[in-house]
Symmetry: C2
Subunit: 86 residues, 2 copies
């Protein structure tokens, strides 16, 4: 499936979330990663993020079936070079 | 349709993006808004965001058909009280 992950951690801890996310997904914006992921990897990712978070911090994971993302538009500077989307 | 919008602006300008986004969507995390939106409002939102952004800033808008968001999981503290999702 395809997932979009958005994290919001204390400023000095954001790198920890990014480091975990990058092992599974592509970093596309300041606090956003996305990409195709297997059920097993998604389960691991969720567990690692859940263990990481402290009170006041949050992470949202949107799970999409791979063919249901209708459109993805980037306004401004796109940090990702590849536009491998529908 | 259902959209998720993630913005990344300079620190002193993030409120401008939030102010625009809130007129159409629900603020769910630091730099993330989401919600049901009509085609017309989505067009207006895109135009306003496009006009706002300066070099180095970006905003990603994911458009989903309303019935295809498979799952949305919040880890940590959920800033939104209502869980009106599939």
């Amino acid at each position: 499936m395809y997932v979009v992950m958005v994290y919001d951690l204390e400023a000095d801890r954001t790198q920890k979330a990014l480091k975990i996310g990058r092992r599974y997904l592509t970093h596309v914006q300041n606090s956003v990663l996305e990409g195709e992921i297997s059920e097993g990897d998604l389960s691991n990712l969720k567990n690692e993020i859940d263990d990481l978070l402290k009170p006041g911090e949050s992470t949202i994971i949107y799970e999409l079936s791979s063919d249901t993302l209708l459109n993805r538009t980037v306004y401004g500077d796109d940090p990702t070079e590849d536009q491998r989307f529908l």
